[in-house]
């Protein structure tokens, strides 16, 4: 990939009189270049990109959802996860094309605001920011469940449920760490993801062998669609939160090395890898106990599955892995949320102050606090399923619009639009991706749809009030 001029028309100013920041002159394998001699270094390689994607996703799908999903859909929850993975793939492909054409921070928000204009961009951008908060809160509540299970395992009986309290505690810790910590979090993230994949592979391999009867146990015979067909789709809508991570890779697109090659590989690769892990996990978990008993175990069902197979050491290993995984998911989401704030304030849709960097730590403290505060409120509700669905809703709206933006850009075919990766099967894939994304929303609970819609309307009103004059659409 050579130099790519990102020729985008920006104009107008917001209520505070701020205008969007100038677009860069060129994008290379190693940098984004502004004004000839100012460069933004790209430092995240393929492994780092995969770790962001997988690290964000693996926490939820494996460690929080198996019990809930099996309770809703029976053994067919396996199919729900496969559907989720398919939709994620249908969106990841178009997202890859857009990301190689516009490898800038902000991901989906950036593509949509440039492809379809400021109004759509604002709804998606603010929605993405809030959606990431819902997702972080969801991961933190999951983390709370795991930490509580540790107490239970140690035989410490508490007179109250510590789930929410622990979630809040970790929420505060994470926010503080993100503001004050300058350690190399990406390297830690890579190691965590590596360890998780190893633990899971060992565990799942054993589970599969057991399920097919190698160890004499044999599988619990069960009807596949024990809850009927409809719950398969509602469960797919619920567990779609497990597939939000690949968009986080696009959020840091401005920092990925060789974006033309690494972005598509990281996004599509992480979706494929986690889909396989999810499907196998659900299969193994439901085979071990049957959907009914699995459902009774709730959020930490995987611990019981591990205990069944491998005894106490297995339970402990999965507990540890669950803590790590939910923690890394929450961490990655908070960081993405602050990237989203940056992208919005760069384009004058939020006050520039919102992405201010403090000199002492070099971290965007305003954005991180603005994410951390609401996250705590959301954690305090403790409603796993609602948080997950609202997060999915807001992301699905973005995913659908990403696919639409791709179609719009392909049809208009502006001169600056030169993606180095082109989606296979155009226009079928993006059309299917858009329909599937919007379609999945219909299977959510009314409450989640309501909250999600309110967030979108509020985002639109904010845009009209604050930055109604700002135009960001790309030149034709």
């Amino acid at each position: 990939m050579g130099d790519q001029p990102v020729d985008v028309e920006r104009a107008g100013e917001n209520v505070a009189g701020e205008t969007p920041v100038t677009e860069p002159d060129a994008v290379t394998d190693d940098t984004t270049v502004h004004d000839d001699d100012v460069e933004l270094e790209r430092t995240i390689g393929l492994v780092g990109g995969l770790a962001i994607g997988i690290g964000t996703m693996i926490g939820a799908g494996i460690f929080v959802f198996p019990g809930l999903a099996a309770d809703n859909a029976g053994l067919a929850a396996t199919l729900s996860f496969a559907i989720g993975g398919l939709i994620a793939l249908l969106v990841a492909l178009p997202t890859s094309e857009l990301a190689t054409a516009m490898p800038r921070s902000g991901g989906g928000y950036y593509f949509i605001s440039r492809g379809m204009g400021t109004a759509y961009g604002a709804i998606v951008g603010l929605g993405l920011w809030l959606g990431l908060m819902f997702a972080s809160a969801f991961y933190l509540v999951g983390l709370g469940h795991y930490a509580s299970a540790v107490f239970a395992e140690l035989g410490i009986g508490l007179p109250f449920s510590p789930v929410v309290g622990i979630g809040l505690l970790f929420g505060v810790t994470l926010t503080a760490l993100s503001i004050g910590g300058t350690e190399n979090t990406a390297k830690i993230q890579n190691v965590v993801v590596g360890v998780l994949l190893v633990v899971l592979t060992v565990f799942l391999s054993y589970g599969i062998l057991d399920a097919v009867g190698v160890f004499g146990g044999g599988t619990v015979p069960e009807q596949f669609f024990s809850r009927g067909y409809f719950p398969v789709l509602t469960t797919a809508a619920l567990v779609f939160t497990s597939y939000l991570g690949f968009a986080q890779v696009a959020t840091v697109a401005g920092e990925i090395k060789q974006p033309g090659r690494n972005l598509p590989l990281a996004m599509v690769g992480s979706v494929l890898i986690v889909t396989v892990f999810y499907v196998v996990t659900i299969f193994v978990a439901t085979s071990a106990f049957g959907a009914d008993r699995l459902g009774e175990f709730g959020e930490t069902a995987m611990v019981e599955v591990a205990r069944e197979f491998l005894g106490l050491p297995g339970a402990i290993a999965i507990l540890g892995a669950g803590l790590l995984a939910t923690f890394s998911s929450a961490n990655a989401s908070i960081l993405s949320a602050s990237r989203a704030v940056y992208a919005l304030s760069r384009d004058a849709l939020l006050p520039r102050k919102a992405s201010a960097v403090n000199l002492r730590y070099g971290t965007p403290h305003v954005a991180l606090l603005a994410a951390g505060g609401p996250i705590l409120v959301l954690v305090a509700t403790g409603k796993v399923e609602l948080l997950a669905e609202v997060a999915s809703f807001l992301h699905l709206v973005m995913y659908g619009l990403i696919c639409v933006a791709l179609i719009v850009l392909r049809r208009r075919d502006p001169e600056w639009y030169t993606p180095s990766y082109r989606v296979p099967g155009y226009p079928v894939v993006p059309v299917a991706g858009a329909l599937a994304s919007f379609g999945l929303i219909a299977f959510m609970q009314l409450e989640s749809i309501g909250i999600g819609t309110v967030v979108m309307i509020a985002s639109y009103l904010w845009y009209r009030y604050y930055a109604g004059d700002v135009t960001l659409k790309g030149d034709i």
Binding site: T32, V38, L40, A186, V357, T363, P364
Partner: protein, 243 residues
């Protein structure tokens, strides 16, 4: 660009690092690649830091650029916001094909230069840096070699004569060049000890990555203990390493 050696001067422009006294004069005959860089933690998008700090950093770089130009150097400059300072420096050395990098420490007027010679490898680049920077000055250059125990006197003589000839052919006056041979001492300690009496040290890089030299162990040992500027001559760039 005639025979001006290209020298990379990396400066952490927002962390109070500046161009120390004497450095512009030292590089008066060089083509300076002035790299202002700012390392930010991973929580922050590089663009975020750029949005806030670009103006301040540009002002400082303007000032530094002027200092080098007034001293007589030609200057090219870059401002980079990065998560990884090493990667940025390595990239700069390849993109600009620099001969050496400067560990910027203050110095007075340069009267004598210590050139640490390790071996025949990379000697041409070493010669080009030394001749390019100092042939038009009054500074005396001391070629300094710490011999291995199994190195014979003839080996050493061949090495030093080779370098001398190369320097002369590049236009240096042999009268300003001395040679010193050391035995029975660790090279690093020997260099640091000897450097005390000199204003500037020129030495070859011994690690594959220049950055480990600028920030890593040997640099700490030489640049920290020797308080003046150190010019680290890079090895010949390998034929485009493909990943």
């Amino acid at each position: 660009m005639t025979d001006r050696p290209t020298i990379l001067v990396p400066i952490r422009v927002l962390e109070g690092e500046s161009v120390p006294e004497g450095v512009p004069e030292l590089l008066a005959h060089a083509h300076v690649v002035l790299l202002g860089y700012h390392v930010i933690p991973e929580q922050t998008a590089p663009g975020q830091a750029q949005m806030q700090f670009e103006d301040r950093a540009t002002d400082r770089l303007d000032e530094y650029e002027r200092m080098f130009e007034e001293a007589g150097a030609t200057v090219e400059r870059r401002l980079v916001f990065t998560h990884d300072g090493q990667k940025t420096i390595d990239r700069m050395t390849t993109e600009h094909d620099t001969l050496a990098a400067l560990v910027p420490n203050a110095t007075g007027p340069v009267e004598n230069v210590l050139v640490a010679v390790r071996g025949a490898v990379g000697i041409d680049r070493l010669a080009r840096v030394v001749a390019g920077l100092f042939k038009r000055t009054d500074a005396t250059v001391t070629l300094y070699h710490v011999a291995d125990p199994d190195e014979t006197d003839e080996d050493v003589e061949t090495l030093m004569n080779g370098l001398l000839n190369r320097l002369e052919s590049l236009g240096m006056d042999a009268a300003t060049i001395e040679t010193r041979i050391e035995r029975d001492q660790g090279p690093l300690d020997a260099i640091v000890d000897a450097a005390d009496a000199f204003d500037v040290v020129v030495m070859g890089e011994s690690d594959p990555s220049l950055a480990t030299f600028v920030f890593g162990m040997p640099a700490d040992q030489v640049a920290d203990r020797f308080l003046g500027p150190v010019l680290v001559v890079q090895r010949e760039p390998a034929a485009e390493p493909d990943e």
